[in-house]
């Protein structure tokens, strides 16, 4: 029964998502901007700064860790080493795609229904809270994930089109696959769960937007760690990280169910009246 309920929610959410020009634009535009911006940044760095970038302490530390993880990189000329370093770091930038989409799409998913009154009608059906929340989160996470994978494919095409195909073997490593197919889904679900939870607690879209800001911080922290070379994410580390975030997904679903107050949603107006009377 749960599978039927979740499928029902997914299909409805997708129809709403892709018939809303704003949401559809966000889903298409965000990956385009992230990939475009990253390629531009890599191209500018490679074209104008080149090898000299590797002399900075931050890049030297990162390069040492990259060489330790992928020893073959040491044999490459300096500018290609830089390219591998930048492209490898870019994989983590892809994590921004599901989180940014979650920030805009998921944060309105429940608060909008609260305001329109459809949520009260939905809560009168036999749907379970966890089915509703998971369905809502997956409805955003799945398209965001597909767009991230498409972006990764586009990146590979661009690498090849720009004549950087020789270094792609050092970028498309087991770590790259683990990041895309394990870490990204885990991050996507976590981001959307956080968004949906925030949305379920918010009384209006503005409140939901405020909590949405929190979604992006874990990913920014990961990117920061990777870029500054504090830690180089080896396949083992990525696997471990994906596992931890996978557990966090489960915990976040449980927390979301606990934080979801069916009664408060039904009684929104009464609670308002009560506050009004107190004033």
């Amino acid at each position: 029964m749960s599978r039927r309920h979740i499928r029902n929610i997914l299909l409805k959410e997708w129809v709403l998502l892709f018939t809303d020009p704003n949401s559809a634009l966000v889903i298409v535009l965000v990956p385009f901007l992230v990939v475009g911006q990253a390629i531009l940044y890599i191209w500018l760095a490679f074209r104008f700064a080149g090898e000299s970038m590797l002399t900075t302490q931050v890049f030297q530390i990162a390069l040492q860790k990259l060489v330790a993880a992928v020893p073959g990189v040491a044999q490459l000329p300096g500018n290609e080493q830089l390219l591998v370093l930048l492209l490898s770091q870019f994989t983590f930038f892809l994590l921004l795609i599901p989180t940014m989409i979650a920030m805009t799409v998921s944060t309105f998913s429940i608060v909008d229904e609260k305001l329109s009154g459809s949520l009260e009608a939905l809560l009168a059906t036999p749907v379970k809270t966890w089915e509703l929340l998971l369905g809502k989160a997956l409805a955003g996470a799945i398209p965001a994930l597909v767009m991230t994978w498409i972006s990764a494919g586009v990146l590979l095409l661009v690498i090849s089109a720009m004549g950087w195909g020789d270094v792609s073997g050092f970028v498309v490593t087991p770590g790259w696959f683990l990041t895309l197919f394990l870490l990204t889904p885990a991050i996507a679900i976590l981001s959307f769960m956080m968004g949906v939870t925030g949305s379920s607690r918010a009384r209006d879209p503005r409140g939901a937007q405020n909590t949405a800001l929190l979604i992006i911080f874990p990913v920014l922290a990961l990117i920061g760690i990777q870029v500054t070379g504090i830690v180089w994410f080896t396949p083992t580390l990525i696997l471990l990280l994906a596992l931890v975030i996978g557990i966090a997904d489960f915990v976040s679903l449980r927390a979301a169910v606990r934080l979801f107050r069916r009664e408060s949603i039904v009684l929104m107006q009464e609670i308002d009246k009560l506050h009004f009377n107190r004033c």
């Binding site: 018939t19 009608a121 939905l122 009168a124 036999p126 009684l267």
Partner: protein
């Protein structure tokens, strides 16, 4: 057989008492309406009975389910028309209803069920139109269909005609009446009270007593030479009533039926209560 039973059902919001020690029994097939001024606790009672909010004291059993415990099972067998008929305005009427139908295990084919009910309320021609383009009355009819799709054992209607223009209100009321005839248990706020008025040549206590003793007579009132009665199934039992009155020696001049809209009944009750208090 009782379909709804409440035992000291109470609900507070902070220090405000919304419902206090409500104990009632509603039999299967019975129609019960709640009347009262704003803030009397009618919506709160309906929400508690529908398992949408929990009581602060007491409990209720609806269709054999505790409303504060077996919420999912309860929702399988009840239907509720909420005050705001919330829909997804960008989805069609059909898609909206199919979505809600998809949550009930009793509905094997949501699209067939939706078609059946949309035809019943004469909205099938607009089934592919976005709900956002519907009038208020049409949305209310659609919300009523949503409450009925899974053919619930108990139906709760909370202000089904509130905020509607007279035409739309009549339309919704007609639909409720039509659906009611098809055998749904209706618990609703709006209803019509029918009274049978028997005009006699002279007033006689014996005739009144006989009428009071008839099993289908719910209420009898003497108003001069008139007997004002309320019957169960008035159409079927009216000939029986006249026969009993004549046999008791009553000389019947006319028998007529008067229908009091709810508003009139309500105002009369409120005035009576105010009169008693003063």
């Amino acid at each position: 057989m009782a379909i709804i039973e409440t035992f000291d059902l109470s609900r507070n919001f902070g220090k405000t008492i919304a419902v206090e020690d409500l104990t009632l029994t509603v039999e299967a097939g019975e129609i019960l309406g709640f009347l009262g001024p704003n803030g009397a606790g009618k919506t709160t009672t309906i929400r508690m009975l529908a398992g949408m909010i929990a009581p602060t004291k007491g409990y209720a059993i609806v269709a054999d389910h505790r409303t504060d415990r077996d919420v999912e099972q309860l929702h399988e067998v009840i239907g509720i028309l909420t005050e705001t008929p919330g829909f997804y305005s960008r989805l069609s009427a059909k898609r909206n209803l199919e979505y809600f139908a998809g949550f009930y295990s009793s509905i094997q084919s949501p699209s067939e069920q939706v078609e059946k009910y949309l035809k019943l309320v004469r909205l099938w021609e607009r089934c592919n139109d976005r709900v956002g383009t519907f009038s208020k009355g049409m949305k209310h009819r659609l919300a009523l269909v949503r409450a009925l799709l899974h053919e619930p054992k108990v139906l709760f209607l909370d202000e089904p005609t509130a905020g509607l223009d007279p035409e739309a209100a009549t339309e919704v009321r007609e639909m409720i009446r039509r659906l009611g005839k098809e055998g749904h248990d209706l618990l609703r706020r709006r209803f019509f009270r029918r009274q049978i008025i028997v005009q006699l040549e002279t007033s006689e206590t014996k005739v009144t007593d006989v009428a009071k003793g008839l099993p289908f007579v719910q209420e009898v009132r003497e108003e001069g030479n008139q007997l004002v009665l309320e019957l169960t199934d008035s159409e079927r039992n009216r000939p029986e009533l006249v026969k009993a009155i004549v046999e008791a020696g009553g000389r019947v001049i006319t028998v007529s039926e008067k229908q009091y809209p709810l508003e009139e009944v309500y105002l009369r009750l409120i005035r009576e209560e105010e009169g008693n208090e003063s």
